[in-house]
Subunit: 236 residues, 3 copies
Amino acid sequence: MPTPSDRGHNLLLGAGVVIGADVTFGANVVVHDDTVIGDGCFIQDGVVLGKVPSLSPRSTAKRGELEPLRLGDGCVVCTGAVVYRGTTLGRGCIIGDLASVRERCVLGESVVVGRGTCVEMETAIGDFTKIQSNCYITAYMVIEDHVFIAPNVMTTNDNFMGRTEKRFALEKGPTIRRGARVGGGSVLLPAVEIGEDAFVGAASVVTRDVPARTLVMGTPAKVVRGVPDEELLENQ
Amino acid sequence: MPTPSDRGHNLLLGAGVVIGADVTFGANVVVHDDTVIGDGCFIQDGVVLGKVPSLSPRSTAKRGELEPLRLGDGCVVCTGAVVYRGTTLGRGCIIGDLASVRERCVLGESVVVGRGTCVEMETAIGDFTKIQSNCYITAYMVIEDHVFIAPNVMTTNDNFMGRTEKRFALEKGPTIRRGARVGGGSVLLPAVEIGEDAFVGAASVVTRDVPARTLVMGTPAKVVRGVPDEELLENQ
Amino acid sequence: MPTPSDRGHNLLLGAGVVIGADVTFGANVVVHDDTVIGDGCFIQDGVVLGKVPSLSPRSTAKRGELEPLRLGDGCVVCTGAVVYRGTTLGRGCIIGDLASVRERCVLGESVVVGRGTCVEMETAIGDFTKIQSNCYITAYMVIEDHVFIAPNVMTTNDNFMGRTEKRFALEKGPTIRRGARVGGGSVLLPAVEIGEDAFVGAASVVTRDVPARTLVMGTPAKVVRGVPDEELLENQ
């Protein structure tokens, strides 16, 4: 059980928690067992770190022992956010207000997870990727470096929605390659791949793979043109 | 006013709260007056139970006395969730992180309400129904047993959006029959009925009733084919 | 640093906080420096007021000193909501459970911000406007008086999604004129204007301006007919 600490107002620290230099705690923070917090992190009011998942008896999520939650140096975890045990945040990540990051995720350096966004379990997110507010990042996704995901993007990973045995073999989240951008309110269907530096227009429904450096839009999303050179990642 | 209790860290209990055997409280939980918590429940960090609604002077929600909130045995209410007075949860329900369940809802046995999902007032949800993350379940809906609602599903109940008097008579949420499945990011228009074991493809906009055991998709959603036998509820 | 106050259970008040008459605090509220709370406000469990933004080094949001957060008389800030420094709420506003209102927003009288909704920075919202649950109101929007925004409405302000220098000049949120209504699950593209008393059907994608008193729907939204006289604001 976490016990009170005078390093913050109504701060609770679990057993084995490791706290780096110059860490700032807001009020009413709960840090569960074994969490490792790097130097210079800012953990804001009401944050919960290192939560152990409470899986439903019917959940298909992986069970078993989880590594401690580890926060790299200089991370900011904002008001009311919840970050689970078994996840690693690279240095300089920002987790927005009321956001969730589930277990077994690996976030690179300077990743931003926006306000209210949920990152489900076992998702990998590359360096400098920015996910804006209120997105839903499903389990088992791969999101590479320098990706930009606009607000309210939704992703899916299960075409069978909880029926049949074969779904377990086929469950797969989307993959988003380096430098791609996904517009606000878009929906990505299971297992689609968004190519490098591709651009998905706002409110699109992506039902098949998007080639690198192409712009798609619509329902279902169709190729419209190439991405202009001036917008390619290498030209920023 | 709730008063401090030593049954949990910074736990506040209102007047008349009844707590069963083997209940576990996380930190900073607030339990408002008269709430009844069944045996073996797990109430996680920062949860608020038994909240009395603060209705806007212009709200059309029903007023009047509310029964106490009742949680059946073995419920788990996850981090930061808010459950209102006047609602009943059956045994073994799981309410996800940062989810809300409003007043006068009745949830059956082993219902799952996903992370960040909002269930509005006076909605009934049947046994073993699973609502995933970030859904919006509007007021006055009926959702039967063994329904599966994927993440980010949105529902509506008012075609007049707050104008005219006749809207009060016509306000009606969707009905989702036993065993139906609704795909991620779909929108259900007011009063539509999703038939038994029907399947709504991801990102569909459902503007009319969906017959039992049929698969619909698109904007507006159209019938594509029947649901395969192997996916019917009776064959799981 | 905020310090404990006995005006509420585990209440923390920052330096220079001003509290009017008959203010009620729930449990575990944090009020940051200089916040001004009007008479008769109700600040519910777990609310954070006057938060200073933690901007990403790469964020394009405006920096600099922020005015104190000011709440007009009779405001209700509901469970777990977060309201930032630099914002002003008019009298009688209601901010729903788990909602966020960012810095430099100006809300008029009796504005409702629904459960889980996020209002980004520098957005102006007129008197009696009602934004329902789980909406995303982007930065730099103008929303006039008596607007009705149904649940899950999403808005966008950047066609370039973080690339090129010219985007800074072109970044612009939608404008929603007096009395307009926007249906549930709709997406508004950057810089569109929704005219006075216009009506956007549920689940529409609005890609161009909507004339006053017209009803649009679809993807992309097209004009269907005029709004019936009985539904115009002046006839309520």
